[in-house]
Amino acid sequence: MELSDEELALRFQNGDESAFEAMVGRWNEPILQLATRLTGDLEEAKDVRQMALLKTYRGLARFEGRARFSTWIYRVVLNLCRDKKRSAARAHAFEESVREREGDYVLEETGFHVARDREVARIVAQAVIALPASEREVVVLRHYHELAFPAIAEILGSPVTTVKSRMSRGLSLLRTHLATLET
């Protein structure tokens, strides 16, 4: 049976270093994805992940399990991303943060389609990153991390109604941005 984050935290507190390895195995990918989508910059995202994992390593000793670990780690990543000032100059890094769906490569073998799919991915990414931070956070957590509104509300420390409104507004903004694209 797979251990919960909280059980792993307890093991780590009791001196089991491998519990941290399990933790990293579980959270490495979600943290990197979240940070990439919030900053739009893969290198910045790796930076955020580094700091978030370091905070985790140091914070686990004091983790009391009053809140769920997932709430805590998402909150850490959000705060780190908010602290990061996005540099507009890093257009190249932005390109790296975009990757079209793998399946498109397999199905569409002509260069034209690959280029087009990549272009779609790039436009979508730009639209998400252009959202106001509060809408962007909710959209990313709901759509890409599949967190329910109450969980997002807990992470953000906001009422569920606020989260719902932000999601609604975020989707509307995206809809306007992406109106020219076919699905």
């Binding site: 941290f20 390895e21 990293v24 580094q50 390593y57 779609v120 759509h143 609604s168 995206l174 809809r175």
Partner: protein, 253 residues
Amino acid sequence: MPNDDISSTCDRVQHELAAFLYGELAPDACEALARHVGGCVPCREELAALRDTQRLLSRWETPAASEDPRLLARAIAAQAGTPRPVGEAPLDAHGDRRGRLVRWGARVSGAAAALLFTFSLLNARASLEGGRLQLDFALPGARSTALSASMGMPTVALMEEQMRAIAAREVAARSASIAQSQEELFQRCSQMTQQELLRLSQVVDYALAQNQRTWNTQLTTLGREAARTDIEMRRALTSLASYLPDPNNPANR
């Protein structure tokens, strides 16, 4: 006023479309929404547009994390500065450290290479047994010729044995401090293995660069210390040699 009623219903419905699309609407609210959308063209169009938006969002995928989580975890732990249990070699058994020293000497370029060179200057053969430093002292022919010439001692072969005995005492007196700096060097080398992990995990490039500079500086310092020890030892040996009996003096035969 029926128009106002309709538009306020539409507002409410459109406000709930996001929750509906993401399956976060209670079943009865879902039913009501579906009923309204079925009979209202603007709301139906809005729902279709948002559904398209939802689909488009899924077209953005980010690159997968390429790092091995285990290495990443170790790199983080190393960066967090966890103390290692004393006397425990980090990855290999004790006896393997010498190989690592040489390997790192080759890899860490200038500083470590200078250190190894300095040890060779000591005219001493250093070997490691169970983590302790053993020193054998020997005067190679060419050097001892030069030494004896400057001290006016013709018979190199004769004094070499005495010289060795004196030097051995001298070296024994110093071996403790040499062993200590050697031990420090091993500590550093073992930490550099963690650094290797940092490199492999490719997540802490900046820390790596910083550590590399730190280690290089410290290795240079160690190299200088070793060089100073070498000079001191030579000076001591020279003065010790002057007390050696002159084999050509009949009084000493």
